[in-house]
């Protein structure tokens, strides 16, 4: 997909669903880290304005009263988002945004209730799994410390699809120990293969449970989100 405008900063949209609550954090992070003003898109719009990339923020859309993201995945704006994805558009879904992406089948798998049954809020270390996507090549070679805060983050997928995803390099992030080894004892929610973030086949849609937008300043505990959000921006440049 061509960029909307080749000069100036990219046009990035952010969808607000009823119950989205990490929208302000995303807006703030993009402004401070990259000087980018996100375009706010209301869930009831049926068409997207011209954009280069799209963010689905975290929160509890519709209270997550069915499964996380299930009700939002059928909101009015979704067909336009699917069309954007179909054209190879770049999308970043964070936490609830990830759930919305799996629920609307833009990403494989499902996010089930955490294995230990409780909501969990903490910093995790993320390792970058093998793969050749733009994200992989930008992010490989180090560990990222990023907060998580969710009750339904246990990634599940059937074995065959998992194998295919691994072969195609669709796994991006895995929960790891601080040395960067994916590790069951570092797995906060029982995710299959410690999966914390996955990509679409074309490598342009990323869904992840951790919140890179919150790791936006050393004063907040980590600035590792900058690299991750930067890798997303790189996919639209």
């Amino acid at each position: 997909m061509d960029r909307i405008s080749s000069v100036g900063s990219p046009r990035i949209g952010l969808v607000q669903f009823p119950g989205s609550n990490c929208d302000a954090d995303c807006i703030d992070a993009f402004k401070r880290l990259f000087g980018i003003e996100l375009l706010l898109l209301w869930h009831q719009e049926e068409a997207l304005p011209p954009i280069d990339g799209l963010i689905l923020p975290g929160g509890f859309s519709y209270g997550d009263y069915l499964r996380g993201g299930a009700l939002a995945s059928c909101s009015k704006i979704m067909p336009a988002i699917k069309a954007f994805a179909g054209k190879g558009g770049s999308i970043l879904g964070i936490c609830n945004g990830f759930q919305i992406l799996t629920e609307s089948h833009l990403l494989p798998g499902i996010l089930l209730r955490n294995a230990q049954q409780n909501f969990v809020c903490k910093n995790v270390d993320l390792a970058v799994a093998p793969g050749n996507s733009g994200y992989h090549s930008r992010l490989q070679g180090r560990v990222y410390r990023v907060p998580i805060a969710h009750g339904e983050g246990r990634y599940h997928i059937d074995q065959d699809t998992l194998k295919k995803m691994e072969d195609r390099g669709q796994i991006l992030f895995q929960y790891a120990d601080d040395s960067g080894l994916p590790n069951e004892s570092a797995n906060p929610n029982g995710s299959q293969s410690q999966i914390a973030g996955v990509l679409s086949e074309n490598g342009r849609i990323l869904g992840m449970m951790p919140h890179p937008e919150r790791a936006s300043d050393p004063l907040l505990g980590s600035e590792d989100g900058r690299a991750i959000l930067g890798a997303f921006l790189a996919t639209v440049l």
Partner: protein, 762 residues
């Protein structure tokens, strides 16, 4: 719609009235009793209504005059609290208190209890408690940025404790997480005084522009009264009087419909309310809290000195055939009452629709000075507004002031003489369990402001980055928040204990490098009709008042929760304190845990004393408070210690600071590295002392004492506090590697962490 309501209003006089209660009937006295209206109160009621009331009217009076809504037992004493100061923008009386942080940037905050509902249904009780306090803050126009919660449960081995704990924590977490407000600090303890009556106190802090503080009135003749939010069900009817009810274990099976919290609806209500206020679409707005539609409509009308006409047929309801009584008194959650000028109605409507909130016009502002409420063409309520509020009962209940008389208590000292300190330490450290069980379930990062959260173990600290602050302060301005109350101290000595609660918050705020600004409280006490309990209450107010005057932290909001008792046994006085402070530069924020190696110091009074009375070690080893006294307070020392911390933090010389509280110096010291795998410490606190003396120095509790960690290479002792009162003593250092040594005792991490794991099962 306005026209239609006006027409209805014109014809009001022709309507049939609901039946007046038959005062001679046998059922009448029991009915009054059920509504907790006593003889004198009924006399007043009658003189206001000028006839016998209808059932709905009786319900209205009962709710408005309940302890919960009217503060009838506490008001005369609350007046003694200091409430003013240059930082105070809005003092007590509004939905929340407001203090100025910098420039036009203010913090609105309040704390509230939800004790009884949480005991009956812990998950929903705790959740709706959080919802209620959030609404109090955002209906002033403030955007909530932090939640805190203070929890008190029965002993860990009490059969109900695990269930209550697990569900209260889940309820607090699920609600705050879903609305998207970080829970950045709190407190918890387990004590047998709460076996039959737990405490769930929730606090919210919001940010607001000084010129945009909203105090809503139902003003403007014929303006529309609009109901916004979830439909009304038969939830928590009598909630307001239940909150003032005491428990008996027998009655715990008999319940009205539980209130269910809907955090998703709350989030929509929050966004819609802030938008409505920002765009100035309404003249009045009030959340429907305790006593629901009744208290919100009366408050709104009373503040404007107006009357209201309401037609309950328009109230969205969830259950069939709800009576006027039920509609007026239901405590269904997530609802607001708004008052709008007809010209703004279409904008308001569009805004509410966008947020997918149900709404309905239910009435009009009138100049009658009366509350006139109709349902099914029957006039159900017709009472004057102002007298009802003005004549609310006030009680000067008899009280007996406590007279603490501490005495030496050898039992604990003898025990300490015979026990290895390391064993005592393990027991003390984990008495309240590992607090991760709580705060892991609370989102404490959302909002991207949390510089210090529960992982840093002290007060919460938010980085505000607000353009409303003074330009030279705006970039790194911080808001510090804390809550505390040591119920053991309060049981022993209510006045001094309450002062300690204020001090505890003050110290943990000072330990971040911030300056304390103001206080909110939540006064949890037993039955005020018991002169001893009332005496505890009065003494506590004195203690809080003294502390707040001495520390220059006025009380700007608060809440009173009485009748916390089971089977006639009242809880220990628990005046929970919440405090906010201002941090000038969050780049110099001090956590209460070590993050790097560096030298350690003890900042303490030159004449330090260690007290064992009502100490944590006494609770753990003796199973009771003992008879010795609790630490005395020396205000000047406290102020100097806090000022010293702020100064040193600002200079950038410090890495961490922790106030010494329950459990004494050794406990505080070990907690600074306990959760870190990569750091240990070596320190000397009581070398050369006898075991009894050493244990006293380790676990005795004290005042004006902090543990500081300096940046490596900084020698703090060079700039020793130039004070006659305080001294700074080097005690060792934090180093890399797990070894943990104090006075030659090896306190291996492993051992301690095992006890941490064991404490998981409450």
């Amino acid at each position: 719609m306005q026209k239609e309501l006006l027409q209805q209003y014109e014809k009001l006089k022709t309507l049939k009235r609901a039946g007046f209660l038959a005062e001679e009937a046998d059922s009448f006295q029991p009915l009054l009793k059920k509504h907790k209206i006593n003889k004198d109160e009924y006399k007043t009621l009658r003189s206001i209504v000028e006839r016998a009331p209808t059932l709905a009217e009786l319900g209205v009076f009962s709710a408005m005059w309940s302890e919960h809504c009217s503060y009838k037992s506490s008001k005369i004493h609350l007046r003694k609290l200091p409430t003013t100061g240059p930082q105070v923008v809005v003092g007590p009386g509004e939905n929340a208190g407001v203090v100025r942080l910098s420039g036009k940037l203010c913090a609105a905050f309040k704390m509230e209890s939800h004790n009884h509902p949480s005991y009956i249904e812990p998950y929903q009780g705790a959740a709706t408690g959080v919802g209620g306090i959030l609404r109090d803050v955002f209906c002033m126009g403030a955007r909530p940025v932090a939640n805190l919660n203070s929890l008190r449960f029965g002993q860990r081995k009490h059969p109900r404790t695990h269930y209550l704990f697990a569900n209260v924590v889940k309820g607090v977490g699920d609600y705050g997480n879903c609305v998207g407000i970080p829970t950045v600090a709190g407190s918890v303890s387990f004590d047998k005084t709460y076996d039959g009556n737990i405490l769930v106190n929730a606090m919210t802090v919001g940010l607001i522009h000084e010129d945009r503080i909203f105090k809503g009135y139902a003003s403007g003749l014929h303006n529309l009264v609009v109901y916004v939010g979830s439909a009304t069900g038969r939830d928590g009817i009598h909630g307001a009087s239940m909150a003032s009810d005491s428990f008996s274990t027998q009655a715990s099976g008999e319940r009205s419909t539980v209130q269910v919290g809907d955090p998703f609806a709350e989030k929509l209500l929050l966004e819609a309310t802030l938008e409505v206020l920002e765009r100035e679409l309404v003249v009045g707005l009030q959340d429907m809290g305790a006593a629901g539609l009744t208290s919100s409509s009366f408050e709104m009308a009373d503040r404007a000195g107006n009357g209201l006409y309401l037609n309950l047929d328009y109230v969205p309801s969830r259950a069939a055939h709800m009576s006027a009584y039920e509609l007026l008194l239901s405590e269904s959650q997530e609802r607001m009452l708004m008052c709008v000028e007809p010209s703004k109605w279409s904008d308001l409507q569009a805004c509410l629709k966008r947020w997918e909130l149900p709404f309905a016009i239910i009435g009009l502002v009138t100049d009658s000075g009366r509350m006139q409420i109709v349902k099914d063409n029957i006039l159900e309520v017709d009472v004057p507004v102002a007298p009802l509020a003005e004549s609310a009962p006030r009680y000067e209940r008899p009280y007996v002031l406590p007279k603490p008389a501490p005495q030496e208590d050898r039992r604990l000292r003898d025990l300490l003489k015979s026990m290895p300190p390391i064993e005592v330490l393990a027991a003390v450290l984990f008495e309240d369990g590992d607090k991760q069980r709580i705060y892991r379930q609370y989102d404490h990062h959302i909002g991207s402001k949390t510089v210090l959260g529960p992982e840093q173990q002290g007060a919460g600290l938010l980085w505000l980055r607000s353009e409303w602050a003074e330009p030279n302060e705006a970039a790194y301005l911080g808001l510090a928040v804390a809550t505390a109350c040591n119920e053991r101290y309060c049981a022993q000595n209510p006045a001094l204990g309450a002062a300690h609660a204020v001090l505890h918050c003050y110290r943990s705020i000072a330990a971040t490098g911030a300056e304390a600004l103001a206080v909110t409280d939540c006064l949890n006490f037993g039955n005020p009709e018991d002169p001893i309990v009332m005496g505890q209450f009065v003494a506590s107010i004195d203690g809080i008042g003294e502390a707040c005057r001495e520390l220059n932290t006025p009380v700007v909001s608060g809440n009173v929760s009485l009748y916390n008792q089971t089977d006639q046994v009242s809880i220990a006085p628990t005046p929970m304190i919440g405090m906010v402070g201002k941090h000038k530069d969050v780049r110099h924020a001090l956590p209460a845990v070590a993050t790097k190696p560096g030298p350690l110091y003890l900042l303490r009074p030159r004449k330090q004393t260690h007290s064992l009375g009502a100490s944590l070690v006494s609770k753990v080893l003796l199973g009771e408070a003992g008879t010795e006294g609790i630490p005395a307070i020396h205000w000047q020392s406290e102020r100097e210690a806090a000022a010293y911390l702020q100064r040193q933090a600002e200079r950038g010389d410090l890495l961490a600071a922790r106030d010494v509280g329950a459990g004494g110096i050794l406990t505080a010291l070990v907690k600074m590295v306990l959760h870190l795998e990569n750091f240990g410490l070596s320190a000397h606190l009581a070398e050369g002392l006898s075991l009894e003396e050493a244990s006293l120095a380790y676990f005795g509790e004290c005042s004006a004492t902090y543990i500081l960690q300096a940046k490596p290479g900084t020698d703090l002792s060079k700039e020793l506090v130039a004070s006659d009162l305080l001294e700074l003593v080097p005690i060792g250092s934090v180093h890399t590697g797990p070894a943990l040594q104090v006075d030659g005792h090896e306190l291996s991490h492993l051992r301690l962490q095992q006890s941490a794991a064991a404490s998981l099962s409450i």
